[in-house]
Amino acid sequence: MKYYNFDIVFQEIPDEVTLAVNITNCPHHCPGCHSPHLHNDIGMALDEQEIDKLLKQYGRQITCFCFMGGDANPQGVEQLAAYVRQKSRLKVAWYSGNAQLPQNFSKFDYVKVGPYQENKGGLKSHDTNQRLYRNLNGKPVDITSRFWK
């Protein structure tokens, strides 16, 4: 698994200060995609070593670690998510383009599902097909409405 870059973001996960890692080699190729450069298999390797580096740099300052994409290798994302949880107190989030929640939902604190559909818009659109779920004691709770304020 490789990633293109990362950023500190505030809108993607409500109430969290999130380090978002942009994973490349995205299999979805949604029409109207905002980040077409992430279709290609480019960037730096995202592994435990790389995560250690990011946690050392930002782990204390953030509250959440978010994998943006990675649908080509869901097991890989789950493994790294478990690694982040093991190494830190951080919440773990996954922005997936798949239509369904992952089987191992309990490994995450937040999961966004749904491919981007141009006519329905992103999470901020009331018509969106995308959903953000929060893991509340193992149960997914739909918190998409937080984006519609």
Binding site: I8, V9, F10, V17
Partner: protein
């Protein structure tokens, strides 16, 4: 054939030399004293002139004066000299007239201002014009006074060197257009004891809530007219709380809904209090005659419980009672919430507010106040937060941080900690100095050190002039104890630091090279600050907000062939337009590793496109505590509709009420909130290029 000679006219243009013009002028001088110049006389006088190519008109006229006297035509020479003087005065008036016309035609007041452009003037008019006209005279007067004192203290050579560095823009003297000392955080205790008589007013001491609030406005106007910069009143709410308690009891805040106004209005305690807030805030935001139609620049502070105890633990009101934290805390929160709501009704620039929080182990000590601070940011309120792990310093202004030298209390001066400020700011243009060193193969920081050393001598000379004014009774704020001359700082300002690092090829992000570069320069200033410190001289170092200096430095440096990466030098430790840095990186670049030598402070303006939630701001307060970023604000442009007047806390491109796209924005381009359209053209450009956060 002789080559044609050219002379240089006053406007800098070249013109062929004409002997007839000189002859004409000399003839007129003879006629003016009832005499007549024959050809022979004219030739005698002319033959004494030494005209060379490129000679200036002034120089020729000087020679004519000498020639007339050498030929013993003393009366004629005198007439000629007086004639020249009259023309000189005419030209000066002509220049002022040109300026007046240009000012009237400028798009706004800040753009029209030739010297010291200041956006704290909403609209240009006859009153602001009256303020602009004498500015050039003030600059000349200030320079003359300072140079004379430097000559007295250190000799002519140093005075000349100062003027050289000033004229070649290695250094910049801030606020030369005013003769008053710069900014002050005052103790109001002398006013509480004796009213405004000691500073030249006629009001006796406030005795109740009404006379406190009314008198406060007048007192702030008086104090501000004797300062060129801001007036901070860190005790405003504490004293107000005292007077409210005297009127409605110590538990007033627990009965805020109680009706206490028996008039037809039937106002509650809360309504009475907020009506006073309204009176004070709206009065102080009015344009002021004594300040060239600027409003006064007013700052207030809020404290968490620990700061309060440290600053005011020993404080006693004149009746020997102590301030009470619980009611003050309620009042602080009430004022902040009221002000936030009021700002959706009117563009209110002042007061600039600073929340002072003490930190410990990577978080704020007073978690109730940290939560409240985050709540207010999330509610869209715009204010500064000052964080310290020790109540040994206070930020009294939108930019300046001051070490507190005395936290004691006295029955004549009140709390020692609040009385501070900056007497004068003198700024070094680091970008030009570093490039000058490099071009002239000078060792790194040798020239910079020479300049900094000289700046301290100049500041000392400034201080001597101030002391002189005080001995003549010109500075009642000092005499009456509102501020103390030896507790006010002489400030060394820094500008062009990021640009100098860029020139050196240093990446502007958190890396060792950049950290060392910053440390070396600011450490050098701190070294001299210590070296020149005496009982009556204290220096600090500040990254100046560079409201207009940043634009001037960039322009001058570019004209003189220096490398200039942007049109306005940064006021931050990062490049304002840099999209590669995230918000945590910016806190880090304004964290302890970079700002430790910056004893006078610099504020991180975290520009964001949208408001964050309370818990996100709360986490960022922890980030600030962890990184040691001691002074910051979050800046989300507020939208003002130019058509219907609606003010919205969000950054919008369309008015949500009337859907007009004719909107303006309120933002902090520097310390205070103003309409973007009130800033000078150059500053508006900078505001446009700003990168408002990653979302």
């Amino acid at each position: 054939m002789m080559d044609q000679l050219y002379i240089i006219k006053r406007n800098g243009k070249r013109e062929p030399f004409s002997a007839d013009k000189i002859k004409n002028a000399i003839s007129k001088a003879f006629l003016s004293v009832g005499s007549f110049a024959t050809q022979e006389v004219l030739i005698d006088v002319m033959s004494r002139l030494k005209i060379r190519d490129g000679i200036s008109v002034e120089e020729i006229q000087n020679q004519v004066e000498v020639a007339l006297m050498a030929e013993r035509y003393y009366e004629v020479a005198k007439s000629y000299i007086l004639y020249r003087q009259r023309h000189y005065e005419d030209r000066e008036v002509k220049e002022k007239l040109d300026f007046l016309i240009n000012y009237c035609n400028a798009s706004n007041a800040a753009t029209g201002s030739k010297y010291d452009a200041n956006a704290n003037v909403e609209k240009k008019n006859i009153a602001t014009l009256i303020g602009e006209l004498p500015k050039s005279n003030f600059i000349r007067l200030n320079r003359r006074m300072l140079c004379d004192k430097i000559k007295d203290l250190y000799g002519k050579e140093l005075a000349d060197r100062y003027m050289y560095l000033l004229n070649h823009h290695f250094i910049y003297k801030n606020d030369e257009t005013s003769i008053a000392n710069y900014c002050a955080s005052i103790t109001m205790y002398p006013w509480l004891l004796a009213g405004t008589k000691s500073i030249g007013g006629n009001a006796s001491a406030p005795t109740n809530l009404k006379s406190y609030c009314g008198g406060f406005v007048n007192m702030v106007f008086m104090v501000s007219s004797m300062l060129s910069g801001a007036c901070a009143t860190p005790e405003f709410l504490m004293y107000m709380d005292y007077f409210i308690r005297k009127e409605y009891g110590d538990d007033y805040y627990q009965n805020a809904d109680k009706i206490v106004d028996l008039s037809l209005k039937q106002r509650s305690i809360d309504k009475v209090i907020t009506d006073y807030f309204e009176q004070v805030v709206y009065s102080i935001n009015q344009p002021t005659g004594a300040r060239n139609f600027q409003s006064v620049f007013w700052n207030v502070a809020y404290y968490d419980r620990y700061y309060f105890e440290s600053l005011f633990g020993e404080f006693r009101f004149p009746d020997a009672t102590k301030p009470i934290w619980e009611s003050l805390s309620w009042l602080q929160k009430r004022f902040m919430r009221w002000f936030n709501a009021e700002r959706t009704r009117a563009v209110l620039t002042f007061p600039v507010e600073t929340m002072a929080l003490l930190s410990k182990d990577g978080d704020m000590m007073d978690t109730e106040y940290a939560d409240f601070t985050a709540e207010m940011y999330a509610a869209g309120h715009s204010f500064f937060t000052y964080v310290s792990d020790n109540a040994d310093s206070l930020s009294s202004c939108c930019r300046l941080r001051n070490e507190i030298t005395d936290n004691g209390f006295s029955y004549t001066l009140g709390a020692g900690g609040v009385s501070t400020g900056s007497k004068s700011v003198l700024t070094i243009n680091i970008n030009r100095c570093i490039q000058y060193e490099h071009k002239n193969n000078l060792p790194h920081l040798q020239f910079v050190g020479e300049v900094i050393d000289l700046m301290h001598k100049v500041q000392n000379a400034y201080n001597e002039n101030l002391k002189y004014l005080q001995t003549k009774g010109m500075l009642p704020l000092f005499d009456a104890g509102y501020i103390a001359i030896n507790r006010q700082y002489l400030t060394i300002g820094v500008n062009g630091l990021v640009e100098a690092a860029e020139y050196m090829g240093i990446p502007i992000n958190d890396n060792e090279r950049y950290q060392h570069f910053v440390e070396d320069i600011l450490g050098l200033i701190e070294k001299y600050n210590h070296q020149y410190r005496t009982k009556e001289l204290m220096f600090n170092c500040e990254m100046i907000p560079a409201e207009n200096v940043g634009v001037k430095h960039a322009k001058w440096d570019r004209e003189d062939g220096y490398v200039v990466p942007r049109d306005c030098y940064n006021s931050y430790f990062y490049r304002v337009e840099d999209e590669s840095l995230n918000l945590i990186d910016k806190f880090r670049l304004h964290g302890s590793r970079y700002i430790s030598h910056l004893t006078g402070g610099s504020a991180l303006h975290a520009n964001l496109e949208e408001h964050l939630s309370q818990s996100q701001y709360r986490q960022l307060l922890r980030v600030a505590a962890q990184e040691g970023c001691n002074y910051f604000t979050f800046n989300i442009p507020n939208t003002v509709c130019n058509d219907c007047g609606h003010i919205d806390k969000r950054y919008l491109h369309e008015c949500p009420e009337c859907h007009s796209k004719n909107v303006d924005y309120l933002t902090r381009v520097i310390g205070y909130m103003k309409r973007v359209s009130s800033f000078s053209q150059a500053r508006q450009e900078e505001a446009k290029r700003r990168y408002y956060g990653t979302m």
